[in-house]
Structures are given as structure tokens and as C-alpha cells.
């Protein structure tokens, strides 16, 4: 199963999906290497869920090809090796917790006895052991979320596909989710997740793909994307007095773009501009600084720069 060259686990080759009246995904190509955490990023309505549904074989693409684990076709044939957490969550409300987990485990192709044993272990691990015989609708929302994670991980999948995994989670469960994802990653599993929260993606993803309106804007390793799309960024914090900062920011020979928050600003330097000159001019203009930091752009900044015009055109 392991090859010397990391073969991509998921490949999309110019995949398209049209619904009545609009194109949800338009000739999207991407490739998810083995053993990475891969982020599928985009604003709401970008086509992330549709893309994931095509990978999962829930929807059939109108054009293009999907390959999973090197084989043509969607994920249904490999459902035993894939854990899937849909964007909108839910469980059978009237069923007992353990029965739901055993049933969903069977759907992933493991037998009842093993499913029962694994479900027991997971419930123990997440502190739900005493709830195993209770009905799902007797559990709090947070507990139901945990049960749903368990159903995703129960069969120890090689590929985890999570659609907006952090949305709607309380902080405790968000931590559980993050730890689980990292634990899977350390065990050599592949994780593909979609999100529109860039801070999360920036901390977790090694590789990513940004899409908007069904089209790919950029993909690759996070560090490469930051290098090519980041530009030079300057973060400035003020300590009360702004002095003549406004004039300095308006000088197009120094600053090409500014994101001004009042007491805090993110600048993109004009090509060839010297950051030290900005510092000097700010200080002489009477500004008091609490922070002056040269850094690469945040993923959020890159995302807004890339998606902004797309979104504006929409």
C-alpha cells in the first residue's frame, strides 16, 4: 500500500457540476497528497460542499473525473476507508447512542461486534460511556457532536473528509476535533477539510486550494502560496497618537495597499519601498508606535485579496 513516491489520495480532474440555472463547480482540478492536512477554502457558496459531495459519490459530476486511492470513481467504493462528516449534522434522534454508532459502523463495512467494541472505546475516551444506552435526543448538542465525530472515526479511516468541521462547535469540542485531526495526521492518515475560517486553515493546513464561484483561484503548499501571493507586509500598532500616519499611508511610493483599523494597520509595501523609511516618517510625524513588524501576509489577507474581486463581481 505504501509506495516510495507519495501518490495523491484524491485527484479531481476538471470536474464540473451544474444545477438548474447555475454552475456550482466549474472544471475544478486538485490533488490531495497522502498524509497531509489539506484545506479546501472558499467563501460561502463557492462550491466546497458540492465538491466534497462529488468526492463522496453523493453527487455525480457532469464532467471530469474523480480518482480516490488511485482508482477511478468516487468514494462509495472505498467507503470503508473514508470517514465523512457532512456540513449539516444530525443523527437518528430516537435511537440509542450505541445502536446509532453500530449501525453507522456497519454502513462503513465493519461487523457489528467490532463496531460495538470500537464504539464503546470511543465513548469511553470522550467521556460519554454512561450515555451509551440513552436516546440521542436526550443528549446535549455538544454530546451529539461528539457522537457524530465518533461515527466518522469509528472504522479508523485512511482518509478523513470533513465539511466545515469547526462550524457550530463549542470551544471544547473544537479542541477535541483539532486534537483528533492532528492525531490522525501523526498516524499517517490524510485529512481533507473545507472551511471559510482562514485562521483555522492557516494553523492546520499544509496544502490548500482556494475556490470561489466554483473555480480554483490557487492551490499548493501553504508556504508557497504565502511566498508568491503574500508580498511584503507591515503590521503597525499605535499607542494613542496617530500623528501624520494618514499622509504616510497615502504615499503610493511607499504603500500599495492599506487595511486600516484605527489603532492597528496592515500595510502592503509598494515594490522597492524601504520599511525603515516608513518607520522614520511615522515617528517624525508624531505617531507613537506600540508595534512595528515586518511579516508575511496572513492567509486571511491573501484570501480576501484573491476572493474579494470575485465576490464583488458575483
Amino acid at each position: 500500500m505504501t509506495s516510495p513516491f507519495p501518490t495523491p489520495i484524491v485527484i479531481l480532474d476538471r470536474v464540473s457540476k451544474r444545477f438548474a440555472g447555475h454552475t456550482a463547480v466549474d472544471e475544478l482540478s486538485l490533488s490531495v497528497p497522502r498524509g497531509v492536512i489539506y484545506g479546501l477554502l472558499g467563501p460561502n457558496g463557492a462550491g466546497k460542499t458540492t465538491t466534497i459531495r462529488m468526492i463522496m459519490d453523493i453527487l455525480e459530476p457532469d464532467g471530469g473525473a474523480v480518482r480516490i486511492f488511485g482508482e477511478p470513481g468516487g468514494g462509495r467504493a472505498h467507503s470503508g476507508r473514508i470517514g465523512y462528516l457532512p456540513e449539516e449534522r444530525g443523527l437518528y434522534r430516537k435511537m440509542r447512542v450505541l445502536d446509532v454508532l453500530v449501525f453507522l459502523g456497519e454502513m462503513k463495512g465493519i461487523d457489528r461486534r467490532r463496531a460495538r467494541q470500537r464504539a464503546g472505546e470511543w465513548l469511553e475516551r470522550l467521556g460519554l460511556a454512561q450515555w451509551r444506552l440513552r436516546r440521542v435526543d436526550e443528549l446535549s448538542k455538544g454530546m451529539q457532536q461528539k457522537v457524530q465525530f465518533i461515527s466518522t472515526m469509528l472504522h479508523d479511516p485512511d482518509l478523513l473528509i470533513l465539511d466545515e468541521p469547526f462550524s457550530g462547535l463549542d470551544p471544547v469540542n473544537a479542541q477535541v476535533m483539532k486534537d483528533t485531526v492532528l492525531d490522525m495526521r501523526h498516524r499517517g492518515k490524510t485529512i481533507l477539510f473545507s472551511t471559510h475560517i482562514m485562521e483555522q486553515a492557516e494553523k492546520l493546513c499544509e496544502q490548500l486550494c482556494i475556490i470561489a464561484r466554483g473555480r480554483k483561484l490557487v492551490d499548493g503548499a501553504l508556504s508557497d502560496i504565502k511566498r508568491t501571493h503574500g508580498g511584503h507586509h507591515l503590521v503597525i500598532g499605535f499607542d494613542g497618537s496617530l500623528g501624520g500616519a494618514a499622509q504616510v499611508f497615502a504615499d503610493s511610493t511607499l504603500v500599495s495597499k492599506v487595511d486600516d483599523y484605527g489603532q492597528y494597520a496592515e500595510l502592503e509595501l509598494a515594490s522597492g519601498a524601504d520599511p525603515q523609511q516608513i518607520l522614520q516618517r511615522l515617528v517624525t510625524s508624531g505617531a507613537r508606535l506600540s508595534k512595528f513588524e515586518l511579516q508575511e501576509a496572513s492567509l486571511n489577507k491573501i484570501f480576501i485579496d484573491l476572493v474579494g474581486p470575485e465576490a464583488a463581481r458575483a
Binding site: M56, I58, L59, R76, E106, G109
Partner: protein
Amino acid sequence: MHKIWAVIRREFVERVRSKWFWTSAILGPVFFAAIIIIPLRFASTGGTKSIVVVDGTASGFGARVADSLARGKTFTVLARPVPRAGLLDSLTREVGRNRLDGLLVLTDRTLETGAAEYRAANVSSFRDIDELRGVLGRLAVNARLERAGVDPVTVGRAQIRIDLETKKISGSATTGESSAQSFWLAYVMSIVLFIVIAVYGVNVMSSVLEEKTTRVVEVLVSSLRPFQLMLGKVVGVGAVSIFQFAIWGLGGRLVLSQRAALLGTTSPSDVAQDAAFQLPPVPAATVVVFLAYFLGGFFLYSAMFAAVGAMSSNEQEARQAQQPVVFLLMIAYLSVFALANDPGSTYAVALSLVPFTSPIAMPVRWAAGRVGPNELVGSLVLLGVGIGGVTWVAARIYRVGILMTGKRPNLKELARWVRTA
């Protein structure tokens, strides 16, 4: 295959575990018995009628009629006054005040011309009128014959009534089934088929709807094909219905075998009178036909109910969308009297061949009369084809519908789902 089995098992176990299942397992027969027996009881027991016989006869005919009526169970004769001015008016007022149920007016002309008059608040009770007509007719004939000089003993012998016993010929064997029993069997079967197909069909619909609204369906269809999921669901719910029938059957048997003990307080003559309400002997072939058409009807309608569940986003929408399906099922149910009265009519034959109505129409015709083997096979083949076609369309609607949210599709959109799925 293992996954379909898991779906079937889940549907079965979760349903059989529910209170709902055991409630209907126990109360179902009580309910069916009630809806069948209560109307019968109301039709046959109107209570005793208190009447007055206004006797204008000089021959003693009025006295004989009053005695004979008083011996029967239907009437109580309060008085037998001789007619005088104002009597009829005052008695009529008594009827109007509900102190009296009716008055029978007899004169000497009754024997001559056969004219008599019964005035009552309720003259639509067949039982009352039949009884009156019977007694009057019998006694009038007696009186006329006696007047003509015939020996009363001879008259009495001539009066021995014919009791026409009806037996249904099934194939070439005479069964013990009477025409009343044939009808009631057909009637009961149509009620059971209608209710059970509708109830379990709606079960399939809610199950689809639950998976759709909780989004569990997304996880499921990423592991097995939508068609496999729908199939597992229908088979699972169908298995519950068969289990339900088994419980009803066993329970019914138990009750029948203990009937003597249960009816311990009733006198034998009452039991004999209730013969029409007793369970007729149900031939094995009828049971097989019943179950075959039940299963066929269940699969046909469940597929439609599954599609209805898939195209709706909540219970309320589903309740509206299921109406056409329920109406379709009702056509045969509402035709049960026509089917049982004339099982050979063109209408009856048509209903028992069309797949949407045959699951109810054919068992009714089978129970009520003779159905040729060709017709039975033809009807079953058509039903099979119907199930195939309906399931094909329903599966396509199901596949698209389970992932759709928002507005319920109109017919045009549904047609597109079927084309593109």
C-alpha cells in the same frame, strides 16, 4: 448486501422496539373488530319498539296480530284500542312527544284488500318493517284460508317457511361459506388492506423524511447506493408489517379458541343468532392471495410514499404531498360494495387488473366470487410490472430529493429529476 441487510435490520428493530408497534399489535384487532361490528350492531339492534295497534277489525284479526307481534322481540304492544274519533290524532301526538314509537292501523279492509297502515317516527328500519310485513302477511293468509273453510292444521303446515341457505362454490367444491360471510370476508379484507398499506406506507415516508431532515442520509448514500437504501427501508418496514400480521393472526386464533370462555355469559341461542358475525372459515388459498396482494400493494405504494418523503422538507409538506397517493389507494377501497356485489362486472375486472387498484380489488373479488386463474396471473403480472415501473420512477425522485432542501418541487421539476437522475 451486508449494508442493505443492516438497513433492513435497523428499520425492523427500531420499529418493533417502539411502543407504537405494540400498541397497534394489541389494539389493532380491537379496532378492526369495532369498526366492523359496531355498524352491524347498530343496524340490527334498534331496541324494542313500543307501539299501539288500533284495531278496527271485527274478526279478531287485530288481536292475533297483536299477540304475534308481542311474542316477537322487536315490538312491545302497549294497547289495542278500538278506533274512535280523535284517537289517531292523539296517538300521533304521543309519537311526536317520543312517548310512543308508532301505531299500526288495521281495519276489516286489511283482509279484503291487503291495506294496512304503520305510522312511526322511524319508518326506515328494515328490520321493523320486515317483521311487520311478515307477521301481517302470514296472519292475513291464515285468516283468508280459514274463512274459505281450509282446515287450520293444513294452513299451519303450509306455513312452514323456507330457509334459503347460500353456499359459495369455489372452483368445483362447495365451501361452507355463506353469501353474507363471503361479503364480510371481502369487506374486512379491503379495510385491513387499505389501512395497513396506508399506515406502513406512511411509515416508509416518515423514515425517509427523518433521514433527510437529520442529514443522516448524506452519510448513508456515501456508503451505499440510494436505491439500496430505499430498498432496505421498504423491505425492513414490510417485514414489520408481516410480523404485525403474524401477531394479529396468532392473537385472533387464541381468541377464537377461547371464544366459549370469553362468551361464557352469552346463551347458545344468542351465539346462533350472531352467526353472521362469526369469522367465516378462511380458505388457505384466500390467505395466500391476500398476502400476495398485500405485499405487492405495499411495495407499490411504499415506493410512492418514499418518493413523497424524499421530495418534502418537513412533516407538513409530506402530509400534503401524500394526498394524491392516498386517493389512488382509496379508489379500490371505496369500490368494495360494487366489487363484492358484482365481482364479474367490467368495472370490477378493470380495477382488479390495474396495478394501482388491484392490491385491494383482486382480493375482494377473490373472496366475493369466482376469479379465473388467467385473470389472477394476469393481474399479478401487471402488478409486478407496475411495481417495477413505479419503483424506477420513485427511486429517481428519491435519489435527487433526499439531497434537496427548500421549496417542494412542482410536477415539471419532478419530471426533470426523473429524466436527469
